[in-house]
């Protein structure tokens, strides 16, 4: 076995056999699923509880407007004064009291309605109540002015703009959403991967320095080989962990609902249903449409580019993390170097989630998808929206050229830094090391 293979194997095995690594691999999905289950369980509890709202309608106009649902029950109070009604509601522990005074002027009446409750009521409930009142008040006013409210309602036109590109591809708002999800997931995945495993590489370099084994090792292998072996070995461990997470998450989210009877996907389904209702034709056609949209995505392009940008971007940052590890004596000294490293990464995610969504092919999005420190994240988010191949090519070329530069830079720092003990590295000091 040659040196590089040996180093990769050792790095991989020590990472994978490490107790905290194993624990995190198994615990993270369990915790995640656990949290989802808990939230699902709690919201189920929440939904099971029926809220009672007492309605004291002195005007008598709105009472019929309020329809009780599974979770919300409207109780009508009659022949009570406001004070009595308040006292009764407070004593019974009901959710709240809706008080509608008597007033012939609808506009004034609409402004003088009060909701009494123990604490601030939920915005959703208030919205529902306001909707109901507005509906009725509108009808009343229309009728008062001799308009036929029912007829007006039936005359309303619903608008659904069809989106189509010049090439004749149909797009939809749903499609934009799906592109966003795919691009965002790819970009965010890379971001997380860089931070978690970049740190791991840095720690492993520092460990070699503090345990003083480094000089023994580099009297046998070239530092650049050690550096590469470390990066590759740790990355493989990272991929292993990620894969384990995906599998475990899949298995757990299939098993847990069966065991605990809590449907984690219930919430998502509710949301999906809401979206589905917005588009015409219910859940089934929604799913079909979504699949169609996913089909239309440049999937092959996305996968190929994901690999390129993932590898390039990760190696770019990983080599810098290793350089930082070599420059310092302990993890506490890394702070001053970490900030300039994290800034572009965080910037990339912000640009991705705000600018790219807003305008995937605008100047800002384009510029950031060329800058190598942000391009992996930003470009991955842009690709689902369709990026010309030459732009992708330029971006990849710049990324890999920079990567070679940073590896050269990191190797220089690494070569000198790993043999420097007790010297507090400053940026000035690092600049000197480059010349050694």
């Amino acid at each position: 076995m040659n040196h590089l293979q040996l180093i990769i194997k050792r790095e991989y095995l020590t990472k994978v056999r490490n107790k905290s690594f194993i624990i995190m691999t198994f615990l993270s999905p369990v915790i995640m699923i656990g949290l989802f289950t808990l939230v699902g369980y709690l919201s189920q509890l929440n939904n099971d509880k029926v809220r009672v709202i007492n309605v004291l309608d002195e005007s008598g106009l709105f009472v019929s407007q309020f329809e009780s649902t599974d979770n919300l029950k409207y109780d009508r109070l009659e022949s009570l004064s406001l004070e009595q009604a308040k006292a009764k509601t407070e004593k019974s522990g009901d959710y709240g009291l809706l008080y509608i005074p008597e007033n012939d002027n609808i506009d004034e009446l609409a402004k003088s309605i009060t909701f009494y409750s123990e604490d601030s009521p939920s915005l959703g409930t208030i919205d529902d109540i306001e909707d109901a009142i507005r509906d009725k008040a509108n009808t009343l006013k229309l009728n008062a002015s001799n308009y036929d409210a029912a007829k007006i309602k039936s005359l309303r036109v619903s608008v659904d703009t069809k989106l189509e590109t010049f090439k004749g591809e149909e797009t939809s708002k749903l499609g934009s959403g799906i592109k966003l999800v795919f691009g965002g997931a790819a970009g965010y995945l890379l971001f997380m991967f860089i931070i978690i495993y970049g740190n791991m590489i840095m720690r492993s370099v520092i460990e070699e320095k503090t345990s003083r084994i480094i000089e023994v090792i580099i009297s046998s292998v070239k530092p650049i080989k050690l550096l590469l072996g470390k990066i590759i070995g740790t990355s493989l461990a990272g991929v292993t962990q990620f894969a384990a997470w995906v599998v475990l998450l899949g298995v757990l989210s299939a098993i847990v609902p069966l065991v605990f009877g809590v449907d984690i996907t219930a919430m998502q389904e509710q949301q999906m249903e809401a979206v589905a209702q917005a588009s015409e034709g219910g859940l089934q056609s929604f799913v079909a449409e979504a699949l169609l949209e996913i089909n239309k995505l440049p999937i092959a392009n996305l996968i190929v580019m994901f690999l390129f940008f993932f590898i390039g971007g990760y190696l770019l940052y990983a080599s810098l993390y290793a350089a930082i590890g070599a420059a310092v004596d302990s993890e506490t000294d890394t702070q001053q170097f970490m900030l300039p490293l994290l800034m572009p990464l965080i910037l990339a995610v912000y640009v991705g989630f705000f600018t790219v969504i807003d305008n995937p092919h605008g100047t800002v999005s384009q510029v950031f998808s060329y800058i190598p420190f942000t391009s992996p994240v930003v470009m991955l988010m842009r690709i689902p929206f369709g990026v010309p191949w030459w732009q992708q090519l330029i971006s990849v070329v710049i990324l890999f050229a920079t990567f070679i530069g940073t590896v050269w830079f990191a190797a220089k720092i690494y070569r000198v830094g790993i043999l420097m003990y007790g010297k507090k590295a400053s940026y000035k000091e690092l600049a000197k090391w480059l010349k050694y």
Partner: protein
């Protein structure tokens, strides 16, 4: 004598700082070569250059007549002063890994490790983690890993630090045995008594320059200055003292004896032989002590560095 390692006019600078200035050394095959010098003199830099960890700015290094090249790493065993092992790795696994990095196959490494572990009676540590071992125990592993691939050239930087006297002795004997089996040893240390005991040749580096080198005995010969310690039981002490002080450079000496006697350190000029001094002294009383003062490695070290 055949040279295993030759360094020719090696210089190395780190920025403004010149760590080595035109240093040349020749290490004869089969010798134990002491590389001495005060802290920060440049020894470690020279050793790192020999190990190809750093490259010299100018100058050349030859191993066995060939200019240093990457595959020479397998012919060198290096025990650095700043040394350690992966703390959370098991002893056997770690030793195998390091041996394989030195070019041994896994099976070779296993056989050799077994031999050395048995020899140093540490066989039952194989499955222990380094962090469970004491410092001295870890040092033993480190020693085994250094010599395991049977290199032609062994470089030890402070090999005895961290060892108790018994283990230090054990390691010393192992080093001597390796030398007898044909290895050449470069030995860097501040413990002058081990230099005295073990080294055939030395080189002294001070402030980036080599200021002295050669066979230890030759150097001692060059540094001795015809000084003798004498003890004399005599009736006419004052007359003898006066006579000696008149003819030679005399300084007081203290050595332990049971007699009440004159004790002097006497330096005689090269024109006078020691025999003349002895015959004079024997006429004056009973000569109880007569020893030539041979400079110790320690004396030579201190004197040369001070004068430099």
């Amino acid at each position: 004598m055949e040279k295993l390692l030759v360094a020719e006019n090696v210089s190395k600078s780190f920025g403004e700082f010149k760590a080595l200035n035109n240093v040349s050394i020749e290490v004869p095959k089969g010798s134990i070569f002491g590389l001495l010098g005060p802290n920060g003199a440049g020894k470690t830099t020279l050793i790192r250059i020999i190990n190809q960890i750093t490259m010299p700015d100018t100058g050349k290094v030859f191993l066995d007549g060939e200019p240093l090249q990457p595959n020479h790493i397998q012919n060198i065993g290096y025990l650095p002063e700043e040394r350690g092992l992966y703390k959370s790795m098991k002893v056997g696994e770690q030793a195998l890994y390091l041996a394989q990095l030195k070019g041994l196959s896994k099976n070779e490494a296993k056989t050799k490790l077994k031999y050395w572990f048995d020899r140093l009676e540490i066989g039952d540590w194989w499955d222990k983690k380094i962090q469970e071992l004491s410092k001295g125990m870890a040092q033993k592993i480190q020693f085994v890993v250094t010599v395991l691939h049977e290199p032609k050239l062994l470089i030890f930087d402070e090999p005895f630090s961290g060892f108790d006297p018994i283990n230090a002795n054990l390691i010393k004997d192992e080093i001597l045995k390796l030398r007898d089996d044909g290895a050449t040893v470069i030995f860097s240390t501040h413990r002058m008594e081990s230099v005295e005991e073990m080294c055939d040749h030395i080189a002294l580096i001070n402030k980036s320059n080599k200021i002295l080198d050669g066979k230890l005995l030759d150097i001692k010969r060059a540094y001795k200055n015809n000084t003798y310690e004498v003890g004399l039981v005599t009736q006419n002490a004052s007359a003898v003292s006066a006579h000696l002080k008149d003819k030679f450079t005399v300084s007081p000496a203290t050595f332990k004896t049971i007699n009440d006697e004159l004790q002097y350190k006497i330096q005689i000029p090269s024109t006078v032989s020691a025999n003349d001094l002895v015959s004079y002294l024997t006429t004056q009383g009973q000569l109880t002590h007569f020893v030539e003062v041979i400079p110790s490695a320690n004396d030579i070290f201190i004197e040369t560095v001070k004068n430099n």
